[in-house]
């Protein structure tokens, strides 16, 4: 901690120390939205980090809450830049579904794929099942401030995870299309549509329904 404090102070004072890589922290709420479907859920997707060019500590939280139930995935990871565009990440994830808790070990890669596709691929490991989660997002600029963001997220599991209502195999798919307006870079309200569907036992046994819904929310960071 002392070292961090000193290096941050030096960054502001002496050039010759040349602190090109000061400690920084930021939080991005990529999605914070109301969804027009049964129970009027509020959903979020937040990423925060503190760290340096190469090494960072990340916190991710994604989920939704409605009248009686909250579902969430929360990760705490160490992230290391390993190539110009990719970070390798490892840590712990805690998933919740109502009062249920499920813990996973996480191995992930995150970065910018060719064609500017923001990519995160997560391997979730527990003693009962292994899951994999793909998340792709693209930003299409209609104007310099009006940005259309298609997003796709898919999940598959090696075995049933009953406490989370997940069946084995290809379990779920979410596709979204959001249109945001960046009033400033840090603050952008948006509207969009979201389509979700479950497959296999996730749908048959645990009852995940196919659904398409409007969403409205705000993206912000600081």
């Amino acid at each position: 901690m002392k070292k961090i404090l000193i290096s941050t102070m030096l960054a502001a004072s002496l050039f010759a120390e040349m602190n090109d890589d000061p400690l920084r922290a930021t939080l991005l709420a990529d999605r914070l939205e109301w969804q027009a479907t049964d129970g009027d859920p509020v959903a979020w997707d937040v990423a925060a980090y503190a760290g340096y060019d190469i090494d960072k500590l990340y916190f991710y939280s994604e989920g939704s809450t409605q009248s009686d139930e909250t579902e969430s995935e929360n990760e705490l990871l160490y992230s290391r830049a390993v190539t110009p565009f990719w970070d390798l990440q490892g840590g712990l994830e805690m998933d919740t579904a109502g009062s249920e808790r499920k813990y996973w070990g996480i191995l992930a890669i995150q970065g910018l794929a060719p064609y500017f596709i923001d990519t995160r691929i997560r391997l979730k490991i527990s003693d009962e099942a292994v899951g994999v989660n793909f998340d792709f997002e693209y930003e299409a600029l209609l104007t310099q401030r009006l940005i259309l963001t298609p997003r796709i997220e898919m999940e598959a599991y090696s075995a049933d995870v009953p406490e989370l209502g997940i069946g084995s195999g290809f379990s779920s798919l979410a596709m979204g299309l959001r249109l945001r307006y960046e009033i400033v870079r840090e603050f952008a309200p948006y509207v969009g549509v979201e389509y979700v569907n479950g497959f296999g036992d996730t749908k048959k046994v645990y009852g995940m329904k196919e659904d398409a819904r409007f969403v409205a929310g705000v993206r912000f960071w600081f």
């Binding site: 004072s13 002496l14 050039f15 060019d53 565009f85 060719p114 209609l142």
Partner: protein, 579 residues
């Protein structure tokens, strides 16, 4: 010959703006409106052998909101210092800030301990302390000074140096009036905040990005397949052809002699007079393209050194460069027009015969996208007509093929591929005749490095004893900058041998232009004529290009060597040890 009456002023802690010479030149205070009273009376001129400079914080207002600047004697830019070649100057610099400060005399040949770079030349000037610089001036021409501490240069700590030739000697051109035209970029944002934002989102300030509409426009023009192919390389490399400038007019207000466009710095002339304009780019991050619609500019000096005169309509001035031009305006008012390289903004001034006139500003040019040449693939002239086979070329093979066969040995330097090195210019070319992105095929006569010829013959200069190759590298996505893939914090000093003639070749592996500045020694730029090597202190290396210059290593000690873009400098920096 300059019609200047020599007056010797000894001026300390100046508030008064002084008259420089017999004409109202080098901008004296003239009672025109300033945005804040606390800002003082406009640029001032201090002349003589001994100077007292006080560095402090001062409230300024360039945007309608007050902000704190780092100033010299309460002024921003600091006072213009007028020295004379051959004389010893003594400068007492007092630090009234609560952090360490420094002044570096940019382009000045002096002993290393007088160079003013904290931790390389000296310890910096601690709060409350006074440091005295003392050295003999061995050159004349147009130079400048700035802080080398923290981000103080961005917040205002910079000023012009005008060095007169030795008594009895003259410069090889004539003029009647003489003005310093300092260009700079001001932001109300704290530089630390700008840097943080660039680290979090490197395109934060870029509001000139490719849109979906641009793509469909291209589809309509040449069909989907061709449009897609044209984008393929950029998309695969995750780079943008609109990546012209990291920090833009979104946060910057551009200034001419410390005035914004609305405040309109102006200079007077009488019809038929020859007016010398000493353009100095004192910006932190902004490369300017300068022209005076309706006037030819005769470029007579580059970075303080006389060149064979060349008449141009426009020139690009990189951060830290200086160009002296002579113009001969007729009746009327002319706009000194400086637009930023990315065309996000401009600043204008007025050259006129009477006060109170504001010259009409021309419209800014449209921004040009970067081309394959700027990505280090081929020639700028044939760009856009390239075959796709060129794009598919193997990186490693191309790198081998470009190795030049020199009559002198090339000393290998350590390189490190990794997170901080995104791209390698596959086929970097010497593009001295390339005016650069934004100035190509614009119908105007634009100065290029190929036009620059030393005024004096350099045919007797020695041939290089050896060469080093420095790759300018970076990762735009993560906003990391380095040389040979190694950032300053991890780098060993470069070793130059006293007495040798060194050839330095830069290869720019990034898509940003980098003005490279070597302290303490001259850079004799190879512009195509070995008998007229042009002498510079700062050399702009265009994206995807290479460029070479020679250095006579004639100054022992430790020196700084770096990119002069302030937010690149932290990583793109080397200490040079001359042993």
């Amino acid at each position: 010959m300059p019609k200047m009456t020599r007056r010797t002023f000894l001026q300390s802690a100046a508030v008064a703006a002084l008259l420089y010479g017999a004409s109202p030149s080098v901008s004296r205070a003239d009672g025109r409106r300033n945005q804040t009273d606390s800002f003082g009376k406009g640029p001032s001129v201090l002349k003589g052998n001994e100077f007292h400079l006080t560095i402090d914080r001062t409230v300024v207002n360039f945007t309608g909101k007050p902000a704190i600047a780092t100033t010299v004697n309460g002024m921003m830019p600091g006072p213009t210092l007028v020295w004379r070649e051959g004389e010893e100057v003594t400068i007492h610099v007092t630090n009234r800030l609560d952090v360490s400060t420094s002044i570096h005399w940019h382009g000045i040949i002096l002993p290393p301990e007088m160079d003013g770079v904290p931790d390389i030349s000296f310890d910096g000037i601690a709060p409350g302390e006074t440091f005295t610089y003392r050295f003999t001036v061995r050159q004349h021409g147009t130079y400048w000074y700035h802080s080398h501490s923290g981000f103080q240069e961005q917040t205002g700590l910079h000023g012009a140096l005008v060095i007169l030739p030795k008594k009895g000697e003259t410069e090889p051109f004539e003029y009647d009036r003489d003005y310093v035209v300092s260009l700079s970029d001001w932001s109300d944002e704290k530089p630390e905040s700008i840097y943080r934002k660039l680290k979090i989102q490197s395109d934060y300030y870029n509001f000139n990005q490719r849109t979906v509409g641009d793509f469909f426009h291209e589809v309509a023009e040449k069909g989907f397949v061709e449009a897609f192919k044209a984008r393929k390389m950029w998309n695969e490399m995750r780079m943008s052809d609109r990546d012209l400038s990291d920090v833009t007019a979104y946060t910057y207000t551009f200034l001419m002699n410390g005035r914004n466009d609305r405040d309109d710095w102006h200079a007077l002339f009488r019809p038929g007079e020859k007016v010398r304009l000493r353009f100095i780019n004192q910006s932190a991050m902004t490369i300017f393209d300068v022209r005076i619609p309706g006037l030819k500019m005769r470029v007579v000096a580059a970075d303080g050194n006389p060149v064979q005169p060349v008449d141009v309509d426009e020139f690009r001035i990189a951060v830290a460069e200086s160009y002296d031009v002579i113009v001969e305006p007729e009746e009327g008012a002319y706009c000194l027009f400086a637009q930023s390289i990315d065309r996000s903004g401009f600043v204008g001034g007025t050259l006129c015969t009477e006060r109170g006139v504001r010259a009409k500003r021309p419209p800014m040019d449209k921004p040009q996208p970067l081309t394959m040449a700027d990505m280090g693939m081929g020639d700028w002239k044939s760009d856009g007509r390239m075959g796709h086979e060129t794009m598919a070329m193997d990186h490693t093979k191309m790198k081998m093929a470009m190795t030049p066969e020199n009559p002198w040995p090339v000393t290998p330097l350590p390189m490190r591929k990794g997170v901080g090195w995104t791209m390698t210019a596959m086929d970097p070319r010497y593009r001295l005749d390339d005016p650069g992105v934004g100035l190509r095929h614009n119908g105007r006569r634009v100065l290029t490095y190929a036009d620059l010829r030393n005024y004096y013959c350099t045919a007797d200069d020695p041939q290089p004893d050896r060469e080093i190759v420095l790759h300018l590298t970076g990762n735009m996505e993560r906003y990391i900058w380095s040389i040979n893939g190694i950032k300053y914090a991890d780098a060993e000093p470069l070793c130059f041998h006293y007495g040798e003639r060194l050839r330095v070749t830069f290869v720019n592996d990034t898509m940003m232009p980098h003005p490279m500045h070597l302290h303490g020694m001259w850079s004799d730029l190879e512009t195509g004529d070995d008998a007229r090597l042009v002498r510079k202190h700062t050399v702009l290396v265009q994206p995807g290009a290479k460029i070479s210059y020679r250095v006579t290593v004639d100054a022992r000690g430790s020196w700084a060597y770096h990119c002069h873009m302030l937010y690149h400098m932290l990583g793109m920096f080397r200490k040079v040890e001359v042993v």
